[in-house]
Symmetry: C2
Subunit: 133 residues, 2 copies
DNA sequence: ATAAACCTTAGAGTATGGTTTAAGGTCAAG
DNA sequence: CTTGACCTTAAACCATACTCTAAGGTTTAT
């Protein structure tokens, strides 16, 4: 499989695939005489692994750790994978909390503002930001 | 007020205040003979405005638009402030949804993995990423 | 008078995850 | 045999929001 084929199969752009290689995430199994990258079926699985990992919110660094486990399963234990997952879960829950807080504040601002063509002289949004807690 | 005073009063570092100036968000009302920045009380209000705006999730660019309204209220209408707020609210709701989706997926992964010292050979987290939907 | 604390600037560095560019080599079809 | 599609590289660029550095000038307290 050449890089363009993997692009189609995996849905990851050739540009990004090269970037992943440079980042140590996905090296093609070999290079042709013309120096073209050749990817195996296993590489396709890895590419999809990366995609799913990213969809779960894992950074490239975290994805890299997960890949290390995948690549050499017998040298790793479940606890490692679970720890990475646990950390990410916490991180995401914290992010959600922060966003929910913002949402609440914004909802109030949005609710109280008339939103009309009146001058912003007495706009409740602007006032709140000027004098807020 | 010198920059160090504003730093204390506003809780925004002097470094960041200079950065905000370069970004056009907060220019000190004047410069002394020694070229030191001098901030007025109005500047302090603006600094706090920026801080609250950021706490609501507004980017510096959006904060800049809100500041333009604040600075010249009679030339702006409520609809403008409400539109900015509305967009941000939507954006945040979308972010929350994406995160909730991740959270759900991660929760399942986390739940099914034994997390023990067993070899990762049959780790459900790794398997799910390898073969997922 | 001298040391600490404060101020100035331009510019580079940090982090993340790519994207784009320039300048070129290779392959397949007609 | 040429045209277009595909491949190669290193390096620069994008966005966001800082953060730090270097090299220096000023102020204040003792």
């Amino acid at each position: 499989m050449k890089i363009g084929d993997l692009e189609k199969q995996s849905g990851i752009s050739a540009h990004t695939l090269r970037y992943y290689e440079k980042s140590g995430l996905l090296k093609p199994s070999k290079r042709g005489d013309n120096n073209y990258r050749h990817y195996s079926n296993e590489d396709l699985i890895t590419a999809k692994f990366i995609k799913r990992s990213k969809a779960c919110g894992f950074s490239l660094a975290e994805t890299s750790s997960l890949l290390a486990i995948k690549t050499d399963k017998s040298q790793h234990v479940c606890a490692e994978a679970k720890a990475i997952t646990h950390n990410k879960l916490q991180e995401i829950e914290e992010q959600i909390q922060r966003l929910e807080q913002m949402k609440e504040t914004l909802s109030k601002l949005h609710h109280y503002c008339c939103g009309g063509q009146e001058s912003a002289e007495f706009c409740s949004i602007i006032s709140a930001l000027e004098e807020g807690e």
